[in-house]
Symmetry: C2
Subunit: 407 residues, 2 copies
């Protein structure tokens, strides 16, 4: 296992899209394609047969001894958020290639191995996340995707057409359940849990799905100097109460792995000399325990009703999305745990708060994820960093897991 | 006293700058000058000698029997905020002209009377409020004003030059204390107090000066799904606590007339899937009791320290401005009260939470203000409205007050 090769390859990939602040390699951009081309060449050098599906997902395949056996797949993505880091997704692609090269060098396995580079994992450009794996799993929302445009007004269909793809034809990229035995994704944690507990590997038990709310608080805009305190309907005061209620309710549910966040807020008119008349706020609730999420949601709605009435500021709640958590496959989890134990590498089972391609692959095959620590849990940021030895431990566990599943 | 003439004149003035939403007649705009030209013609028709000072303040003068006696002045402004109403300022100009016409028709007074239209009362265009009266009172901040530009990049000096004025020459507009005996401004309340208490006239006791703070809360941006509740430094949670602390402290001080408002807040990065890493908020504290303001400020600082420490989110406080309340003159207040009593019009003494040209005029003469109710206290808004009979009551009291002071 070559630590230098892994570090150099991750660094080489970071050059496409490297800017003054972090790396910006948006889905389907020129930089994204250049990085993909580079890895395609590496795949071919390693003896993989490479094909590109109708949505731009890259699939590199190493045949096994049984020509009709389903493949054991690994992989992740190369696209980034704007001003992102060099490890989110990339570690899973480079680590997957390193694992397959290692397995190839040790002789033929029964099952084919596949390395997949999923297209458009980040939602930054078109507003939808994990698009490539959704296409592959047959859960793409073509009706919605046909309408989306990026910030420059370029439609998804145009971005695809520029590379010779056709949004209408993407159903040909759907994979049949019979083609795959399992999917294992190596990824940085993007949270602080492994680092804080000094654990090398996180075995993902389930991937949380976000429930998202838009909350609109209606007060009465009024002169901040001329309106006595007892004659106000200050929308921001009510909004502040809601922020603290979300925090308190999420804390109550946190022993079940549920988290709640008010990530965005807009205050209208938002000037110093006017009592706020309207506040819009966006809430993200996640967890792997569906009952806990439902309870948190109900508690938040109850708290908001009380605040709205007490403050005489009507509040509207719009549920933007409400998905169920996706459980990872028991066999894959056990294989990862077995690999950790055999290698003497510390591990813990943990949920993934962030979404990943593995949650879509779970619809069509047995899916699992291997997390490695990242510094201070920071991700989607130029400060994002994973240590070389942590990456190598992850690759070692991935290699062993793929071996157990494909041998 | 002609109610129809007053209503028609207010409506005629509203046509300059009338848009789809409210009236936009920004300081020194073409619409602002057109409205001023219209009133200048009305002043001349009424027999006033009109001059324009070096900052664009309009002064219409009716001589009295004593050529060397100081003038008794009234007036207000014609400029508006963007999408503003038709009564803020305008009532004081039209009402002042109506009062002087009425007094002229009844025969000569000892003192001269003046109607002043102050330039650039609203801060909307150049960020500074009551500029015209500051120039007249000799308190203009030429150093700062030399640098300001509007949102289109037009400097104040250019806006003045376009009308033939010269920012460097505005000191010639400073008026000597010997020129004026008193200044009385008629204005809509811009708050809900008079309407709620069914009182026709507010006799302003003092004009509150705002203390303004910019508060910056520093947390740690983190993935909203992957960061457990107990490992967060959520800047918005701390900011929400500060909003409620400001509210609570202002409520405690409200019996002394002090108010406190968080009017604006910006959340960074402000996206649904990131725990807020930084919040900027702007606080406005006002009152007429200086000790109460000082106490509120100290309490807010103490509360912020406690929140910053408890939440592990450092907070920086920047004091943007901190002015003292301006007391209105006793003689003028008593004259207004006497006028109300003689006319059988209900009144109450009350502070002004909003700033007005009268607070600058108080530096050079005995100043007072007459408030009339406005619907629901709404101002700086197309919904701003004052009833005809309330305006006429205000003009009656203004006329009587000017008479008492100038007779």
């Amino acid at each position: 296992m070559n630590k230098e090769w892994v570090a150099a390859t991750i660094e080489r990939i970071s050059t496409w899209g490297k800017g003054k602040r972090g790396t910006s390699r948006l889905a389907f951009s020129a930089e994204d394609w250049q990085a993909k081309e580079y890895v395609i060449d590496l795949m071919k050098e390693a003896g993989l047969a490479v094909r590109i599906d109708s949505f731009g997902n890259i699939i590199g395949r190493l045949e096994g001894s049984n020509a009709t056996a389903p493949a054991v797949a690994t992989g992740s993505h190369l696209d980034t958020v704007p001003e992102g880091g060099d490890f989110d997704g990339i570690v899973g692609v480079v680590g997957g290639l390193a694992a397959i090269k290692e397995l190839k060098s040790k002789g033929e396995l029964t099952h084919p191995l596949e390395l997949i580079i999923f297209a458009a994992e980040e939602s930054s450009r078109f507003g939808y996340a994990t698009m490539g794996s959704k296409v592959m799993a047959g859960t793409a929302n073509l009706f919605a995707w046909n309408k989306v445009k990026d910030q420059d007004g370029i439609a998804l269909s145009e971005a695809l057409a520029a590379q010779g793809f056709n949004l209408e034809g993407i159903n040909s990229a759907i994979r049949d359940k019979s083609e795959l035995k399992a999917f294992v994704e190596l990824h940085i944690e993007q949270g602080p849990v492994l680092e804080a507990s000094e654990t090398a590997i996180g075995i993902v038990s389930a991937i949380a799905a976000p429930t998202r709310l838009k909350i609109t608080v209606e007060g009465m805009a009024a002169h901040s100097g001329a309106t006595p305190m007892d004659q106000r309907q200050d929308a921001l005061v009510s909004a502040a109460m809601i922020v603290l209620a979300v925090q308190e309710i999420a804390l109550e549910q946190s022993h079940l792995g549920t988290v709640g966040t008010v990530g965005a807020m807009k205050v209208h008119p938002g000037v110093m000399n006017v009592v706020p008349g309207l506040v819009e706020m966006w809430v993200d609730i996640r967890g792997i325990n569906h009952e806990s999420i439902i309870e948190a949601l109900q508690d938040i709605k109850d708290a908001i009703s009380t605040i709205a009435e007490g403050q005489d500021t009507p509040v509207a709640i719009e549920v933007l999305s409400s998905d169920k958590p996706v459980l990872m496959d028991d066999t894959v989890k056990d294989s990862i745990e077995e690999a950790c134990r055999r290698s003497g590498i510390s591990y813990k089972r943990m949920p993934s708060g962030a979404g990943h391609d593995a949650m879509n692959m779970a619809h069509i095959t047995s899916a699992g994820m291997i997390f490695i620590p990242c510094r201070s849990g920071i991700s989607h940021n130029p400060e994002e960093h994973a240590q070389g030895e942590d990456i190598m431990a992850g690759i070692k566990v991935l290699t062993e897991t793929l071996y157990q599943l494909a041998k």
